[in-house]
Symmetry: C2
Subunit: 333 residues, 2 copies
Amino acid sequence: MRDVAALAGVSVKTVSRVVNDEPGVSADVRERVEAAVARLDYRPNLAASNLRRTGARTGLVGALVQDLSNSFSAGLLRALEDSARQHGTAVLAASLDEGADREQELVHDLVSRRVDGLVIMPATARQDYLIAELRTGTPAVFVDRPPRGIDVDSVVVDNVGGARTATEHLLAQGHRRIAALSDTRTIHTASTRLVGFAEAYAARGLEPDPRLVVPDLRSSEEATRAMHALLELDDPPTAVFTARNILSSGVVRALAERGLRRQVALVGFDDFPMADLLDPPLTVMRQDVGRVGRAVAHMLFERIGGDTSAPRHVVLEPSLVVRGSGEIPLPGR
Amino acid sequence: MRDVAALAGVSVKTVSRVVNDEPGVSADVRERVEAAVARLDYRPNLAASNLRRTGARTGLVGALVQDLSNSFSAGLLRALEDSARQHGTAVLAASLDEGADREQELVHDLVSRRVDGLVIMPATARQDYLIAELRTGTPAVFVDRPPRGIDVDSVVVDNVGGARTATEHLLAQGHRRIAALSDTRTIHTASTRLVGFAEAYAARGLEPDPRLVVPDLRSSEEATRAMHALLELDDPPTAVFTARNILSSGVVRALAERGLRRQVALVGFDDFPMADLLDPPLTVMRQDVGRVGRAVAHMLFERIGGDTSAPRHVVLEPSLVVRGSGEIPLPGR
DNA sequence: CCGCGTCGTGACAACGTTGTCAGGGACATG
DNA sequence: CATGTCCCTGACAACGTTGTCACGACGCGG
């Protein structure tokens, strides 16, 4: 900046004025400065600028998601990115892989970087630690999982209702032995979806067979193994409810390996690309990631804009997408 | 920081020493400062710190990919993120959507933010504009598509060879009427893969039917429409080569709509999750995104570390993953 | 011709941090 | 006891920028 000023024969302050399009600079000077800027490839230092400007924004938001390469996280991030762009803001993205420690480290790091806001798909059981982190005034919005131990904005889908709908869909077709495969129970969405599963049975005065409920599956491979085990029971399930997209794929794989894809009904939570191209096409409870992402971005940027009203909790309804796999009838009917 | 110093009864410099774990602070003082830091929730201001430290890193790299929500971009980003974490670096991610203007804007923005390095999946035809941008010393690594008009590091897969292998795989089974569906020709990978397609024919002294070569398809839906049109020809293709994962899904959809999934052979470029669960499972040329991402990260961090040797261009070989869709025989054989 | 407002410009301080250097005390050495 | 060395600590300047204020030139009305 000093060099530019020297080359244009003006003071640094005047360069600053030109660069920031401030009024009160004669056309002649403005032109000289612009020429100097161009000639020297001058780039304003955003860090220094932010340092000086009182309470200026960094134009950065942090997004902590489960796994960038999972279609749910990736879709969410994409929607967030699109909204952020409209606010001249860039997105710092990181994967948590359900690591509670990583979540705390990353939040700490992002707050130190003075991000304008945080989007968190929490991996921790409780987020009390955030109280201290957010004291600086950084707003945060939770997504996919509600906050515990702290009251901040959140956008989640109705997991209980969604799981109930999915399960009821299978029950309505006569299935009574429905398996439920789910993620680690400490993950909120995993346990809530199992609640919905049980509720659907209860609504009909029935009870699920506890042997068919398999929680704590951490990968597609574990789901495949678990499904094989279930199919080897004396009284195997006639239908399956999977609580997450990677578990759905594991189950499809197990069914494929046994040639049972058209015999066992399946409804999965979470849609994913090409689910409609499977054979049979996969019936799913779809969360509209675009809508979730936009809702999150909307709330976040309102907060960044100065909204200090009470935290809001948005609950979106997932929708049943009927494609075929969930409509396989009970054998012998 | 001043407040911490006051509370601990020391100078700001001493606080700085404690915060940065510098030697030469008595245990007594260190303890007092740490207590004050904890009590006041003091966060060092990274921006100010970077400003003062001469030539310090921001611990930030920018990644400009085609589309965050596409499995190829997302997988790449994930691999980059994992490597970056080991270098204490966070990733700024953005989608280009093949927008040349967006690429230039974003590069400009990221350079102004003083990122330590850039990863670019270019959307522009030429990247001369980068010469000025990179004069500040920011290293860049290109991925998926080689640089034009500037010589910087790159990691690409052998697109010509991969397309040739895929096409030869179909030719070897007797197919002679193979359709080729591809992306916008200005995209390097799209045009190169068509070159490989033609080369495979040429190697056998044959020529592809130009009416079966359909470039400039920008979405899965366009691929579906194009495929329907091809199947309505008097002499329709007996096999298909698709140059990108979203085009593969479009073709599968068209085939499914006509009940031809087991009649028309298909080999796609780019693997994607659950390609093995389609019926028939999809035969693809797989690019190992993890390896690509790690190679990119490796080169980038060597540059950031001060490596000033001549730009390197890494070419990785994709591999044919035989699953079934590519092995459908020619009708009547 | 004087006083006053307006306009363009620059000097200076400050944002939060750290590199440099100097000062003062404790201790060892001659 | 004088001198030197080491250790701990703090004052100060500087990183690149912008907010504040003041200054001089100019034009206008009285």
